[in-house]
Amino acid sequence: MYAQMITAEASDEDPKLLEEFQARIDRDEKIEPKDWMPMAYRKTLIRQIGQHAHSEVVGQLPEGNWITRAPTLERKAILLAKVQDEAGHGLYLYSAAETLGVSRDELVELLHEGKMKYSSIFNYPTLNWADIGAVGWLVDGAAIVNQVALQRTSYGPYSRAMIRICKEESFHARQGYHAIMQMAFGTPAQKAMAQDAVNRLWFPAIMMFGPSDSESVHSEQSMTWKIKVRSNDDLRQQFVDQTIPQIEYLGLDLPDPGIKWNEERGHYDYSDPDWTEFFNVIKGKGPCNVDRLNDRTNAWEDGAWVRDGLLAHGRKKAAARTAAE
C-alpha cells in the first residue's frame, strides 16, 4: 500500500513488559506516545508511518504535473485542492512519526538518501489528463481501502491521522471517478483515452497492496501488534470487488481476462499482477524513480534558503521580545 514491504523484527525485551504490552493490544487499547513499547514496535512504526508520509508527498508529483494543463478552470481548482490535501496528509503522518522520537527532517533526509521508500505506484508516469482521473479513482480508491482498515491500528497518533485522512480522501476518489466518467461518456476518442489510462494503471494499482500474504511472512508480527490490521490479499480483494461495478457503469474494461465472479467464494477472481515488475519498481527501476527523487531533492534544496531565512527571522523576533521584557 502506501507503506509496502515493512517488516517487523522480533523483540528480546523483558518478557513481562512484552506480555503486558500484548495484552493491551489484544484489549484494543490504543498505545500512546509516552507509553512503554517494544523497540521493534517503535522502529516498525517509524518505517511504516514514514513511508506512508513520503508517499503522500511524492504522490503530489504525478498530479502536480497536470495542474497547469487541466482541461477547465474548475478541474484545475479541484486538482489544486486535492494536491494541497496530499501535502496535509503528509504532514499529519510526519507528525505521527515524530511522536515516536524521530524528526521530520531526519525522515526527509533518509528518503533523499534512498534509505526510505514511498509507494511503488508513484513511480508510474501520468501521461495525459485521463491518467489524473484514473489516479484519483483507482489509486486513491485503493488507498482508502487500506486506510479505512488502518483507522483501527494500535498506535493512537497513527490511528488518528488515518481517521482524519479518510474523512478527506473520499473527495479524491470521487473527483477522479467523476473526471473519468465525463471522458467515458464523451467522444470515442475521449473514451479511448479513459480506457488506455485504466489499462496502464490497473495492475500498478492492485500492486499497491503488496505481495500476496503467502509471500510476505514478515507481516505476522505487524498483525499481532495490530500495526497492520488486515492482510494484503484481503484488502486487494475488497478493492477488486468494489471496483468492478464502477468500471461496468463506465462501459470500460479491466485489462484482466481473469476477472470472473466466483459464486463459491462470493468474490471476483482476478489475475495476479507481474510481481517481478513490482520488485523492480521497489528497487528503483520503475519508469519514474529517478525523476521523482530528483524532484523531491531539488524542492528540498531549493527551498533551504527560505526555511533558513524564516527561522532566522523567527529567532530574531523572539530574542527582541525577550530583551524587551
Partner: protein
Amino acid sequence: MSKEWPLWEVFIRGQHGLSHRHVGSLHAPDAEMAIKNARDVYTRRNEGVSIWVVEAQHIAASSPEEKGPLYEPSNSKVYRHPTFFDIPEEVGHM
C-alpha cells in the same frame, strides 16, 4: 544550532460554544506562521472558528507511569457520584 523549525501543537475551536481541542501539530518558524500553517492544514473544510498554537516544548505532561497514584483518589471516592445515594421515588427528581 538545529535548522529544523520548532514543533507547535495546534488547538481548534470547532464552533462557538465549544472549547479548543487538540487537533495535531506542525512545524513553523514562529507563532504567526504556525497560525497561518494551522489554518491551511487543519481548517480546510470549515473545521474551526478559532486557532491556538503553542510550542510543543512548553507543554508539561503527566507521565503514564504515574497513572496509578495520580488517579487513585478518584477511584476510591465513589460517593462523589450522585448514584451513590438512594433517594426515595416519592421526593421526585433530584
